[in-house]
Each structure stands twice: as structure tokens, then as C-alpha cells.
């Protein structure tokens, strides 16, 4: 296969070309259920944002197969360096909607203690889902470093780093791919080419004939995958992970997919996305495509889909209610975790702000003590 051909497994009618990996019935249904939970989480967060209950969200509609297919190939001992449009990978590996909702509301139970915008998750268990930052491409060399540490210690683990088509223009894309290839680091670069970097189409991002072809110049395999095909994504990831674990180094996977929503809730894609494009890609909906495959295996009915989606909405709705009712982080969390120990100058600033809050009567319970 050349770097221009598109790897696929599930045909549009749900039949397969024989390349499906050996997933059990339960595993196939876990993939399906996770895709529906991504959609349900997405739908819930859009409503929460539109009704002013959370400040921000990142739509994931259309890219569920990329996330779930890729995540399904990972072991719990592998590391994920995600982008901000990747929470399906977290859900697949057992991070709960409630853990995620605490972040969406930035409350006291948020693992990042309300310091980050919504969708900038950080989890260490049950899988390393590394703290997300907003700058684009910075996590590529970081994933390479984490993977190289695995290699230096003789471990057989690997790192997955995920980014969009826009990310390929960043400084980190070049240094990340170059360092990984030179060091033969066990890392998989997943470029989710969803057609748009906020409002800029791929044609304004690169003059290359594809993103996968860029791998050739770095000296690593480049694979172009149908990103709306969950089993193709899984196969490409399994191959890349085998390659990495065998000591052969990195792979660049270009997943061709489509962002069916806006960049974020602050974005209005109708200002720049051609209507016919959305209509075309709606026909290629990754969830519907997987359903057609499952139906050929007698694993899917419309009723099952509706039931699972309703269950997901209920679970996520309950998580949202709980997260919304949880108190905001206490004032001292502004000043902690800057360093392992709070230095004197930060301590003084904290104490002065607690004192002012007490004096003005607006300190909340628990304020005024450093968590030392």
C-alpha cells in the first residue's frame, strides 16, 4: 500500500474486505457503546454550553471512529498524548463521564482543580491520558521523550500522540517526527485530518498531496486510513504499535475524517464550511457505518442503538448534575501546585488574598489554608 491509498475495512454497506481484526462480540459492542457515549457526551456538553451552564466545549461529532479505533489498539500501560478533540480515547479506557464532567464544570473534584478550560483533561488512571494544553503541536516531542524513556528502560510500551491537520504545520510536528525517527522511539503519530483547522481548509495547511506522505522524508512508514472506519483505524494502530514494540520506531497515521461540528462552541462553521460538504460527510457518518457492520454480524438493531444512546444520555446527564452541584475549587488552589512546595513569595500573595477575602466577607469555606 502506498502512502496515498486509503486503508479501509468496512465497506459503506457494512460488509468487510476481510481485514477486520479479531475482536470478540463484547469488544465490538464496547467500541460501539463508546462511540455512542462520545456522541452523548458531546450532545450534552453542547446543550450545557448553549444554556450557559458551562463556558466552552469542543464538538467531537464525526471523529468518533478515529478516537475509538485508535484507542482500542492500546494497552493500559501505553501512554496517550491527546489533542483537545480526543476524549473518546479516555472513555474507551474507562475514564468515567463524571471525571470528565468535573473538568467541564471546573469544580473542586476536577483533576486539574478548575485551572484549565473545559475539555483540557488530565488523567493518570486507568490509562495515562496526559494533561492537554492549548498550544498546538507542543505534545509531539513530549510523546517522543516519554516513548524514548520506555525504550531506554527496555519496556515494550508505546505512546500515541494525536493531533489535527493544522498541527502538522507546527514546530513540534517537525521536531517530534524527526527526533522519533532518528531515535527509533516507540511512538505512533496520529494525524486526524478532519478537513479543517478552525476555519482553514487543508489546502491552506499544506501543498503536499497528503499528510501521510510527509512520513517518507522523516524515514518512517506513513499510512493513510479511512478515519470513519473504526476497524481500519484499529488495524492501522495495531500495525504501528507492533512496529514500535518490535523496536522499529515510529509510524505516521493520517486518518481521513471530518469534523461535523464547529471547531469549538465559540465557532460558527456555517460562516466558512460549504453546506454540501457537511451533507456529503453526514452520509459517511462513522457511527452509522459501524452499525451497518454490526448488523451484518447480527449484533445491532435500531432498538439497541436507541437504547444504548438513551442509557449514555442518562448516565452523562446524571454526571453533569452532580458536577454542577459540586463546589468550585477552594481559593488556595490558585496558589498550590505551581511548585512541589509553595515558595515564600507565593505564600505571601496567597495569604494576602485570603485575608482580603475574609475582610470583605467573600471567602468560601476551606479558604486560607495551603494543602501542605
Amino acid at each position: 500500500m502506498t502512502s496515498q491509498q486509503l486503508l479501509s475495512v468496512i465497506e459503506p454497506d457494512g460488509s468487510t474486505n476481510g481485514h477486520e481484526s479479531g475482536l470478540s462480540k463484547d469488544e465490538l459492542l464496547h467500541c460501539y457503546r463508546t462511540m455512542l457515549r462520545v456522541r452523548a457526551f458531546d450532545d450534552t456538553c453542547m446543550k450545557l454550553q448553549r444554556s450557559g451552564r458551562i463556558g466552552f466545549s469542543i464538538p467531537n461529532k464525526g471523529v468518533e471512529a478515529c478516537q475509538v479505533g485508535a484507542a482500542s489498539a492500546l494497552q493500559k500501560t501505553d501512554w496517550i498524548f491527546p489533542s483537545y478533540r480526543d476524549f473518546g480515547m479516555a472513555l474507551y479506557h474507562g475514564i468515567t463521564p463524571l471525571d470528565m464532567m468535573h473538568n467541564m464544570f471546573g469544580n473542586a473534584n476536577d483533576s486539574a482543580r478548575g485551572r484549565q478550560m473545559p475539555v483540557h483533561f488530565s488523567f493518570v488512571k486507568p490509562i495515562r491520558f496526559v494533561s492537554i494544553s492549548s498550544p498546538i503541536g507542543t505534545h509531539l516531542p513530549q510523546a517522543v521523550g516519554a516513548a524514548y524513556a520506555m525504550k531506554l528502560r527496555g519496556e515494550k510500551h508505546a505512546a500515541l500522540v494525536s493531533f489535527g491537520d493544522g498541527g502538522t504545520s507546527s514546530l513540534g510536528f517537525h521536531s517530534g517526527l524527526n527526533f522519533a525517527a532518528v531515535w527509533k522511539a516507540p511512538v505512533v503519530f496520529l494525524c486526524q485530518n478532519n478537513g479543517w483547522a478552525i476555519s482553514c481548509p487543508s489546502s491552506e495547511q499544506t501543498a503536499s498531496e497528503s499528510y501521510a506522505i510527509k512520513a517518507k522524508a522523516y524515514g518512517m512508514p506513513g499510512v493513510r486510513v479511512d478515519g470513519n472506519d473504526v476497524l481500519a483505524m484499529r488495524k492501522a494502530m495495531l500495525d504501528a504499535l507492533d512496529h514500535a514494540r518490535a523496536g522499529h520506531g515510529p509510524t505516521l497515521i493520517e486518518a481521513v475524517t471530518y469534523r461535523m461540528g464547529g471547531h469549538s462552541t465559540s465557532d460558527d462553521p456555517t460562516r466558512y464550511v460549504p453546506k454540501h460538504e457537511v451533507e456529503e460527510w453526514t452520509k459517511k457518518d462513522p457511527v452509522a457505518r459501524f452499525e451497518r457492520f454490526l448488523a451484518t454480524r447480527k449484533l445491532w438493531t435500531k432498538e439497541l442503538g436507541e437504547k444504548l444512546y438513551a442509557e449514555a444520555m442518562e448516565e452523562i446527564g446524571a454526571a453533569a448534575k452532580l458536577a454542577e452541584a459540586t463546589a468550585p475549587p477552594p481559593l488556595e488552589t490558585i496558589f498550590s501546585d505551581v511548585y512541589a512546595t509553595v515558595p515564600q513569595h507565593i505564600r505571601k500573595q496567597g495569604e494576602a488574598s485570603f485575608e482580603l477575602a475574609r475582610r470583605k466577607g467573600d471567602a468560601s469555606a476551606g479558604d486560607g489554608k495551603f494543602p501542605l
Binding site: 501512554w79 476536577d110 483533576s111 486539574a112 482543580r113 485551572r115 484549565q116 483540557h120 488530565s122 488523567f123 493518570v124 496526559v130 494533561s131 494544553s133 498550544p135 507542543t138 509531539l140 516531542p141 513530549q142 510523546a143 517522543v144 521523550g145 516519554a146 516513548a147 524514548y148 524513556a149 520506555m150 531506554l152 528502560r153 505512546a159 514546530l171 513540534g172 517537525h174 521536531s175 517530534g176 524527526n178 527526533f179 532518528v182 501546585d337 505551581v338 511548585y339 512541589a340 515558595p343 515564600q344 513569595h345 507565593i346
Partner: protein, 324 residues
């Protein structure tokens, strides 16, 4: 006890750390078989192997970015940036990533790493081999900024920095690499971060300095002593987090303060020292605080000796503040 140059003391610290702790790795451009352009990493690859001290492709963003990943995953990387002037492609990694990982992940992910880099003028390096960028890093919560001025402190501070659970920018005064020699204990010892060093006692004027300005200020202090002005010379050693109490105490001892650094004056570290004293000890001051610094211009090549503060300029400020 061995007598070492400052760069030999850095090398000794790296060897000591690598021997004591198998998770310490050294990476950077030319740090492998060549031993670095200043020979700070000489012999490390030979002694510890390519898995412990290794060359990287020529990309500062890559060096720091991969170093962060190693730190996240259990190693203690000591990254070398060949000249501090070349660090800026990695600024995003340092400021947006290393400095913020602990905070933004609620302590789930941390970056215990050291970024060593030679800084400052005095080698005829022109605009791009001479700069003093400490203020850029001091403006970033989450980083520590350390600058030694003696071989003893270079080893002890570097070992303390490698032990530290947070990212440390370790700026080495390249002008002093081979200019200063001193006794350096064998084996492991640390000089605690955020502690000042009193270089010279005196009741007349307090001089705050660090790095390559310490010998310059000492020379000026000796000349001042000949004129009857005894200076208290303080080597700050750690700029962030600063020993604020120590600075205030030293300022109050004389009520007359001169702050010296090579970096440009505007928004330089001297401004922070001055403001700290003005906010907390103004009633002790007998004279306005004087700053002796590099000019607010790029760093010139041929005329660098006019750009960098020398004993003549420091002495002039000491006399001015003393006679106010």
C-alpha cells in the same frame, strides 16, 4: 579536595548525579562524544554509555520537548542548550509546558528536569552568543532560575537542581567557565536553592549581583574599600524563587543599594530587587537605589567591554550611592 574550574565543576556534578541516580540522562547538541562545545559534558558518554548521555538533532524545541516527555515518564533529564541565545525556539516548551504541567494537571504530571545553558558576554560572541535572558524565565511561575558564580556553587547548585522536583533553568556564566578556579568537594553535596551567599561583609553599601558580575563587583568593592567604603556583596545564586527575606535583610544593613546585572535594564531583574526593597524597606533607605546593567540595546560585538558592567561602572555607582 580538587581545585576545579567552573566548567569542570559542572562536569563533576553531572558525573556525580549520573553515578548516583540511573534515571539521570544528559541530552543536547554535541554533548555526546565531543563533550559539548564548552566540554561541560566531556567523558560522560564514554563513562555512562549512549543511553545516558546522547546527542540530539539540531532543534532546541526538540531537546526540551523530548526532555519534558522523559521527565513525565520517570527520567531526570539534564538538557543542554548550547548557548542561551538559542533557547527561544524552545520557549513555548519551557513556558507553556514544563512550567505549567504540575499546575494544569493538579500534580498528576510533573517535570523534574534541568535546562543547563551558558549565558552572558565576555567571549566576543556578538548578539547571538552573549545574551542574558534570565528575566524572561523569572517572569514564568513554575520555573526555578539558578545562576552559580563559583566552582563550589556550580556543583552544589547543579546537584540541588537535579534533585529538585520542578523544572530548573540553570544559567552558567560562560565568561567564568575557565576564569575562576576553586576547591570543590568530591562526591555529592548540595547548595540549597533560594539561598543567598554573602561574598563580602561591609557596612557601607550593599551590592546585589549574580553570575559573571560577582567577580566584577568584588573588584569594585576592593577598590571602594581603598577609598574607605566597605561593601556588603551578595551573590543571589537563585533568582526564582528568590530569598526575599535575605535580600531585605542585606539591604537594611547598609540602607544603600546597588544592583548589578549584564542583562538590559528595562524590566530586568534589578527592577524586581529595587521594587522589593521599595515596597518593604523604603524607610531604611538612605539613598536612591542604583542599577548598573547592560544597556537597552542588543549586545554589541567589538564594543562588548563598554556594554558589560565593569568595575569602573560599579565603583562609580557605589560612590554615588554612598555619597548621596
Amino acid at each position: 579536595m580538587a581545585t576545579l574550574t567552573l566548567v569542570q565543576a559542572v562536569n563533576d556534578a553531572l558525573k556525580t548525579a549520573m553515578r548516583d541516580d540511573p534515571s539521570v540522562v544528559v541530552l543536547g547538541e554535541d554533548v555526546g562524544p565531543k563533550g559539548g562545545v564548552f566540554l561541560a559534558t566531556e567523558g560522560l558518554t564514554k563513562a555512562f554509555g549512549k543511553g545516558r548521555c546522547f546527542d540530539t538533532p539540531l532543534s532546541e524545541d526538540g531537546i526540551i520537548g523530548t526532555g519534558i516527555g522523559m521527565a513525565l515518564n520517570g527520567l531526570k533529564p539534564v538538557c543542554e542548550i548550547q548557548f542561551q541565545d538559542f533557547i527561544f525556539p524552545a520557549f513555548d516548551q519551557i513556558v507553556s509546558e514544563a512550567a505549567k504541567f504540575r499546575y494544569r494537571s493538579g500534580g498528576q504530571y510533573t517535570c523534574p528536569m534541568v535546562i543547563r545553558t551558558p549565558y552572558g558576554g565576555g567571549i566576543r560572541g556578538g548578539l547571538y552568543h552573549s545574551q542574558s535572558g534570565e528575566a524572561y524565565f523569572c517572569h514564568t511561575p513554575g520555573l526555578k532560575v539558578v545562576i552559580p558564580s563559583t566552582p563550589h556553587d556550580a556543583k552544589g547548585l547543579l546537584l540541588a537542581s537535579i534533585d529538585d522536583p520542578d523544572p530548573v533553568i540553570f544559567l552558567e556564566p560562560k565568561a567564568l567557565y575557565r576564569q575562576v578556579k576553586g576547591e570543590v568537594p568530591e562526591g555529592k553535596y548540595t547548595v540549597p536553592l533560594s539561598t543567598l551567599r554573602t561574598v563580602r561583609e561591609g557596612k557601607g553599601v550593599t551590592v546585589f549581583c549574580y553570575g559573571a558580575m560577582v567577580p566584577v563587583c568584588m573588584k569594585a568593592a576592593e577598590q571602594a574599600a581603598e577609598k574607605g567604603i566597605e561593601c556588603l556583596v551578595i551573590d543571589l545564586r537563585t533568582l526564582l524563587p528568590l530569598d526575599e527575606e535575605g535580600v531585605l535583610e542585606a539591604a537594611k544593613q547598609t540602607g544603600r543599594v546597588v544592583v548589578v546585572h549584564e542583562a538590559p535594564r528595562f524590566c530586568g531583574f534589578g527592577g524586581e530587587i529595587s521594587a522589593l526593597i521599595a515596597e518593604n524597606a523604603i524607610e531604611y533607605m538612605e539613598a536612591p537605589i542604583a542599577r548598573v546593567t547592560g544597556f537597552d540595546t542588543p549586545f554589541p560585538n567589538t564594543l562588548e567591554h563598554h556594554y558589560m558592567p565593569d568595575a569602573r561602572r560599579v565603583l562609580d555607582a557605589i560612590e554615588h550611592v554612598h555619597g548621596y
